[in-house]
């Protein structure tokens, strides 16, 4: 289990133990964290699981691939620290990862 910290847009912090191997998106959906729609179910096809990764963590995550960057073009208000949470796989190295959920997904 790895601790992932989800900050929702209403300024609430949800600290969740997520099983290694799941994605940050699945951790949110399975624990009813609001603001992650994940319409396509993790297929990197919809950009509705968009999160802003805490600045301290941006460099520590595995690089995004081209497909993820392409999908982020369609996300709501993408920034430099934007990621699709379905593409971040939880592992021990990510213990304490902080992600901020945008005000909306579309």
């Amino acid at each position: 289990m790895t601790k992932i910290i989800y900050n929702t847009h209403d300024n609430k912090t949800h600290t969740i133990d997520v099983q290694n191997g799941l994605t940050v998106m699945e951790g949110a959906v399975q624990n009813d964290i609001p603001g992650i729609d994940a319409d396509c179910g993790g297929g990197m096809a919809c950009a509705t699981c968009h999160v802003y990764v805490d600045e301290d963590w941006v460099q520590k995550l595995p690089q995004k691939d081209d497909g993820e960057e392409d999908m982020l073009d369609m996300a709501f208000e993408p920034k430099k620290n934007s990621r699709l949470s379905c593409q971040i796989i939880v592992s021990d190295e990510l213990d304490g990862l902080v992600v901020n959920i945008p005000s909306k997904q579309s």
Partner: protein, 339 residues
């Protein structure tokens, strides 16, 4: 008004196979879909991505799956109403009265919602003020390109639609192309063309910029765009076009009196009927204990919902289960020879 035994909302794989099952057991049906083409998410989201979990099909793409399903229902000549969204579903005696956004009406005892995660709608600009200019100076698709002649058009996006329109409109308009990063994801030939036109001054290229504000009274007068380094530019423009792809929205389904939780509709697992008699939900949009969002589950759900439709469409007949391998009636419906 069109009368039919069952109306299917959604022309994705589940909707198509449900239509197949209805016709196989001798019922009529018609299909409505908001997209302008058949295939739903398979065509819109992943036409080229391989799928590995369709039973007896080791590998196929979203497009191949759709084409196979279209082939499979070809013998039935099913009427599909594309580019239309069902807006209204109302009780009318023993039937449901259904109306689309284009005013087409249906009367049917059975409505089958095979709507995926809802209808595909264009993604819009984030500043709220954009709404007041929508369909006047702000568009998310181009219906009549002549309105842009001689005007300044600011196009946002980095995919094929944005690039194609930038190239096309640069012939007779002043074009600004604005994208959030340096890389474009469109076809390489178009990307090269855009860079060429930018060099010769036919397109003003702004990369690493995003829209932050729009100004104007009745019509758009200028837009503000912000660079990654926080610098803000104000650009005079007559029109803004946004091409950010499509997003799925539940839309009017939310107003039909169904039990909806987290964008899905609760159903039973015998008929896949909702809390409203004669309205069924199948595929990704339905939920029940153990629901899996797989295409194969949608096929099963559609097959059972089709049998449930029979009771309401033919109250005085008894449904008789038959195999396609042996039933002469079914072979006649399929237009194939019996042994």
């Amino acid at each position: 008004m069109i009368k039919t035994d069952a109306l299917i909302i959604g022309a994705g794989p589940t909707g198509l196979f449900t239509a197949h099952q209805l016709k196989l057991i001798g019922l009529d049906c018609e299909i409505v879909d908001n997209l302008d083409k058949i295939g739903g998410q398979c065509i819109e989201l992943y036409p080229d991505k391989p799928i590995y979990d369709i039973p007896a099909v080791p590998e196929c793409t979203g497009e191949e799956l759709t084409n196979n399903l279209i082939d499979q229902i070809k013998p039935f000549n099913i009427k599909t109403h594309l580019g239309e969204r069902v807006d209204e579903v109302k009780k009318d005696g023993e039937n449901w009265f259904v109306k689309t956004n284009l005013g087409k009406t249906f009367l049917t005892p059975n409505v089958i919602i095979a709507g995926g995660v809802g209808s595909f709608e264009p993604r819009k600009f984030s500043p709220k003020e954009c709404e007041k200019f929508e369909n006047k100076s702000i568009f998310y698709s181009v219906k009549d390109k002549t309105i842009f002649e001689g005007k300044t058009v600011s196009i946002f996006g980095g995919g094929d639609s944005a690039l194609d329109w930038a190239v096309e409109l640069s012939k007779s308009s002043k074009v600004n192309l604005i994208h959030r990063r340096d890389d474009f994801r469109g076809a390489q030939a178009t990307v090269d063309k855009v860079h060429e036109l930018a060099k010769s001054g036919k397109i003003n290229l702004f990369t690493k910029y995003q829209l932050t504000n729009v100004n104007g009274k009745d019509n758009l007068e200028s837009i503000e765009i912000k660079h990654d380094n926080k610098e803000i530019k104000t650009i005079k423009t007559d029109f803004a076009l946004g091409f950010f792809g499509l997003i799925m929205q539940l839309g009017p389904i939310a107003d039909w009196g169904l039990n909806i939780d987290k964008k899905t509709v609760a159903v039973d697992t015998e008929k896949f009927e909702t809390n409203q008699k004669g309205i069924y939900a199948v595929g990704d949009i339905c939920s029940y204990p153990g629901k899996l969002k797989l295409i194969l589950s949608g096929f099963h759900e559609g097959a059972l919902a089709a049998r449930a439709c029979f009771k309401l469409a033919r109250p005085n007949e008894k449904y008789r289960f038959e195999f396609t391998t042996s039933s002469k009636t079914i072979k006649d419906r399929l237009g194939v020879k019996s042994d």
